[in-house]
């Protein structure tokens, strides 16, 4: 048993049932736990991944740096989530993974993950499903950035992050941690920081949602979902809170 293994077993169980033998094998997965200060790369573009990553505390995001120095953020990761499973069979990183705030991150040597995948079909199935769901989330982020107004896009991002936080056991009542700056939200949604500020203010004044001091508060779930046109099916979550 290890904290990394426990966390990964919990995360995978959000996507389906893990047979007991497989769950035990995942819980035995161990690795190194490191503290990573905010705004540091955990995995950098171009490097060869040697470990899979599990978020234990904090908040991570993936990004690609454009030639003009503009950073496109294409995913956020909460504690218990596993941001790098889709790179376990890749020779090199084609994007970077970084911390938004001081974080604690678990690193599992890929060799151990390969052994798990080779020997435990139940775990293999859920690891595969988890990475396919990541693909679904990327599709939704594409739709969000292409076809929604700033109002709808920010609302949609908040709906998703709350649903994921709830599944990760991080939600308390109508609040959950979301330690992101307006700048990072802008880089995720392709909006100027000014436009994000304006949109946050309108959503707050309308009584839908508030983001303050790294805490997201859902003020009116129904109207927020409406504004976002949110349908959580793409998250494929089997459970919505920690058992």
């Amino acid at each position: 048993m290890s904290q990394i293994g426990d966390t990964l077993a919990f995360h995978l169980s959000r996507f389906g049932e893990l047979p007991e033998a497989d769950a035990q094998a995942v819980r035995r997965l161990d690795g190194e736990v490191r503290r990573v200060d905010r705004h540091q790369d955990v995995l950098s573009d171009g490097e060869q991944p040697t470990h899979a990553v599990v978020v234990l505390e904090g908040f991570l995001f993936r990004y690609t740096m454009g030639r003009q120095g503009v950073r496109q953020v294409h995913s956020f990761y909460l504690p218990t989530e596993a941001p790098s499973l889709e790179t376990i069979y890749m020779d090199y990183m084609d994007n970077s993974l970084a911390t938004a705030v001081d974080s604690r991150v678990g690193f599992v040597p890929l060799e151990r993950l390969y052994q798990l995948i080779d020997n435990f079909p139940g775990a293999r199935k859920l690891l595969w499903r988890q990475t396919l769901v990541q693909g679904g989330i990327f599709r939704e982020w594409l739709i969000r950035n292409s076809n929604r107004t700033a109002h709808g896009a920010v609302a949609h991002l908040f709906c998703e992050m709350f649903a994921r936080a709830d599944a990760a056991g991080l939600a308390e009542g109508n609040t959950c941690p979301m330690p992101v700056t307006q700048e990072l939200i802008g880089q995720a949604l392709g909006l100027s920081v000014v436009h994000v500020n304006r949109t946050l203010q309108l959503l707050r004044e309308a009584g839908l949602v508030d983001l303050r001091g790294g805490i997201l508060s859902i003020l009116d779930r129904e109207r927020l979902w409406d504004a976002a046109d949110f349908d959580p099916r793409y998250l494929h979550l089997k459970t919505t809170s920690r058992d």
């Binding site: 107004t149 700033a150 700056t181 307006q182 700048e183 909006l191 100027s192 920081v193 000014v194 436009h195 500020n197 304006r198 946050l200 203010q201 309108l202 004044e205």
Partner: protein, 91 residues
């Protein structure tokens, strides 16, 4: 890097930027305010309206206003009659 606040004032009201953003210098903050003014107007234009009366106030970390970027100064508006049709035959 110094922190600057980009407060918005336009027809939708006032949006204070209490969080602020770190910029390399005031020039970089000014550039982002200009980009921000354009982005707000562009979003309005997609809904069929253009209102250039707003402005963005740039305040430093102490809260002192160090510059103001006016929406109407952030773009060029070309006045005049409708353009003549071009000769489509290319002659």
């Amino acid at each position: 890097m110094p922190l600057y606040h980009l407060h918005i004032r336009d027809a939708q009201g006032t949006a204070r930027d209490d969080e602020g953003v770190e910029f390399a210098d005031l020039e970089a903050a000014r550039k982002e305010a200009l980009n921000g003014a354009r982005s707000l107007m562009a979003a309005d234009l997609l809904k069929g309206a253009l209102d250039p009366r707003g402005y963005i106030e740039i305040a430093d970390e102490s809260g002192r206003t160090v510059d103001v970027v006016r929406f109407r100064d952030s773009f060029t508006f070309v006045e005049g009659d409708q353009l003549e049709a071009e000769d489509s035959t290319g002659r």
